[in-house]
Symmetry: C2
Amino acid sequence: MRLEAGGRFARGKLVAAADLAPFLEAVLRPGDRVCLEGDNQKQADVIAKALASVDPARVNGLHMVQSGVVLPEHLDLFESGVARRLDFSYAGPQSARIARMLFGGQIELGAIHTYLELFARYFIDLTPQVACIAAVSADRDGNLYTGPNTEDTPTIVEATSFGNGLVIVQVGEIVDRVPRVDIPADQVHFVVDAGKPFFVEPLFTRDPAAITETQILTAMLAIKGLYQPYGIRRLNHGIGFNTAAIELLLPTYGEKLGLRGKVCTHWALNPHPTLIPAIESGWVERIHCFGSEVGMEDYVRARPDIFFTGADGSLRSNRAFCQTAGLYACDAFIGSTLQIDLAGHSSTVTPSRIAGFGGAPNMGSDARGRRHPSEPWLRAGREADPDGPPALRRGRKLIIQIGESFGDGNVPMFVERLSALDLAERLDLDLAPVMVYGDDVTHIVTEEGIANLLLCRDADEREHAIRGVAGYTEVGRGRDRALVERLRERKVIQRPEDLGIDPLDADRAMLAAHSIKDLMRASDGLYRPPSRFRNW
Amino acid sequence: MRLEAGGRFARGKLVAAADLAPFLEAVLRPGDRVCLEGDNQKQADVIAKALASVDPARVNGLHMVQSGVVLPEHLDLFESGVARRLDFSYAGPQSARIARMLFGGQIELGAIHTYLELFARYFIDLTPQVACIAAVSADRDGNLYTGPNTEDTPTIVEATSFGNGLVIVQVGEIVDRVPRVDIPADQVHFVVDAGKPFFVEPLFTRDPAAITETQILTAMLAIKGLYQPYGIRRLNHGIGFNTAAIELLLPTYGEKLGLRGKVCTHWALNPHPTLIPAIESGWVERIHCFGSEVGMEDYVRARPDIFFTGADGSLRSNRAFCQTAGLYACDAFIGSTLQIDLAGHSSTVTPSRIAGFGGAPNMGSDARGRRHPSEPWLRAGREADPDGPPALRRGRKLIIQIGESFGDGNVPMFVERLSALDLAERLDLDLAPVMVYGDDVTHIVTEEGIANLLLCRDADEREHAIRGVAGYTEVGRGRDRALVERLRERKVIQRPEDLGIDPLDADRAMLAAHSIKDLMRASDGLYRPPSRFRNW
């Protein structure tokens, strides 16, 4: 029925861009579950614009089930009544507006998910009736090339197309033969030639010039105090300058510590430009990517030994598999956050912004279904439960929060109460949007040192381990100095000097690259940064 | 290099079956990581046979990374020295021989994984250099049709092909046009026409005639004591007669309780024939499948509203996505086990058999990365932590172990010490192969009643909740009767009579089908059971 209704606007599978709005009015029914592809990077922007222009008298009350609420049109849909209910994962640039609309009751919230969790529901109770996706190109049969930003597309298409739904794709161009087939034609129902590439955001580029010495200090602490003793080889880094600093210290500070080949060899990671120096100096064996990064295309193409690339030479990212890899095949996750409370719960929610979860809670949780041992994982398990019976004692995933005690705008990272709780009250949510729960966090790294929460034996010790690295924030000043010193004797807290690190050594000279230009040079000119990062 | 070496045996991508052994000798190098596709159902059996016949002087020390060790050839490889190291998930029919070979040191064990966990490692540190897979058919370009038993294939191919490795496929036939493209040709390097279908095992067919009244009683307890009060809509059933009994009681006992539409609507499940009566009486909205089941092809084809099917009409199973769905989108897992100890740890290991994990530990673990609430999940969380701060209190996945206190051969299910511990000692394993850990199990159901471990407040209560449903086993007889009664008053233990269930009502007449023939009838003749199940 939908297929026939849509077919009236199509020649074969091809729908003209000018007919997109009436076509959508023909195939959509009120209340449909719809996935409008969009995550933190790529967007089906042309279809989004068309959907925002349909007549709400004909198409209304849609239930949007999609990774990202990123484009203004994603929220315009709810203002016009075309959409009513929302299940999503991430709302970066729209986090303030989505908060206002939720407070105002314009959006009926299903839930905020992690990416992998939302994908899981696509196969159970949130299967889209219609998916609007984005690809680089299509051939005349409808075979799709999604290119380096493959990301969520295969997962959305598999759930929708095999789940009795309709798949509509916007492509940048129609070609005789696609460079490789990322999505076979028989899974695709309609193709729209958008005449231009889909929108994609460079989200993982951190300019080395902006890394501070405090961030370098926290990176040194992480490398010497955690990566080295645990021997962390398989890991995921979150976004941010603290982890970018770690990446840029591997070929210098890490090399001096003799860690090449012993840590950071296998990654679940986007193609971070700041990892280029480590890759080029032989630190990295393998990287699997959630998505791509604008400007990294040619560099990735030149390193099929490191990155997952296709027969055409370009990256094949896959968010679902990379999230699974981060969950089950990595021993450590390290990321920054906005707030950490006294129990170690962390959140990126502020009273007026709902950024969503993305992938962090999936990476930042202990994978209790894991059954294969590894040294870092077993050691963490022993620290948490030294008296447990060895063969029945599980390991623990290392989940590390890293940041400065005072973050952007001098706002303290440590708080008595998470803003997420206020949000939960205001929206009457069953769950406060906590990014990483305190019982999953194993370490907190700040410029004051490392708190090892695995070694804490009760809630009081845990609280003081946190206060003990909270610097001059109110939480930090509320510490019981004697208890903190006792924790330090037990190595629950380790100061820079306890690890033989002189904060004065935390110098920008140690970074393997000092600028975007240096990263280009390290890539032998293959990394081509987007213009916004070119300040020369 | 491998591609060129193999190309000498190929016309285009086509390698003659007779050349398979020398071809494999040409493309494989000593020590290669190799995935020989095989899980609990489908097998790349023709390639397995050829690989077992290669010259160990040329090909040796392979590191096998594969879901299933199921065919004799899988282990022959280790006897001849062609393979040395093994990372796997499941070893059903080979469980005794693999144990002997591990004891004898003929196999160097990497680890025993869950399926999803092994897939995860394919993208991080266990990427195959060569994958030998199985498909129904290929066209002349190498596009593959995997048919209903798609299972692990897309995941293995994605990791191997994009991971710079070689993909070799055995197909049942070469056709002009495949019914649908499950794997695009540009991900496939070599195709072998095996001239016959790959081996596939019907593993999920339970004959209703073999279901006992005790199993019916435990099924009634599960439905009335768990499915109803928690309102479990999204779930996974393990294999076994206890859960088959639940499936066959839904249209009768479940209907009487008024539960249609309120429980068991969305499933992560193989196409169990015993679910046909429930599907046909309108209980089920959606099922996503790990694999297929021999005989269910036409029935599944007739219900694209329920099952995930392709443009060709046949099932698209996908083990990776279904495991993810079971992990993150289901509120409950229920399965049987061989042994449960006093802490609630369960295992299917016996002293002389290593069956592996399959998917159960992934289903049977609390998904701590989950962030979307649901009623069953929140209720379980409240029961576990009634005093916790609501918005910071996570829910819990319901993980239910069901069985009779004395299992097959009158062997007690409850034990003081798991055989898995003896195995761990004998093989010097870091981890005993525990299927579901005690801290993840929420309920145990036996003919004596339901133990709700969420309501236990310490290890002693937990032990006695378990003893309290352990019947006349030694563990059961070791109970403190007074403590068990107190637990019963608090509903930690519920007897059949506490739930208004009369064990005498547990009658085979209640089953919606009494035989395989009844299941065929319920399917309107579309279910075609394999001959071994036809006793008429």
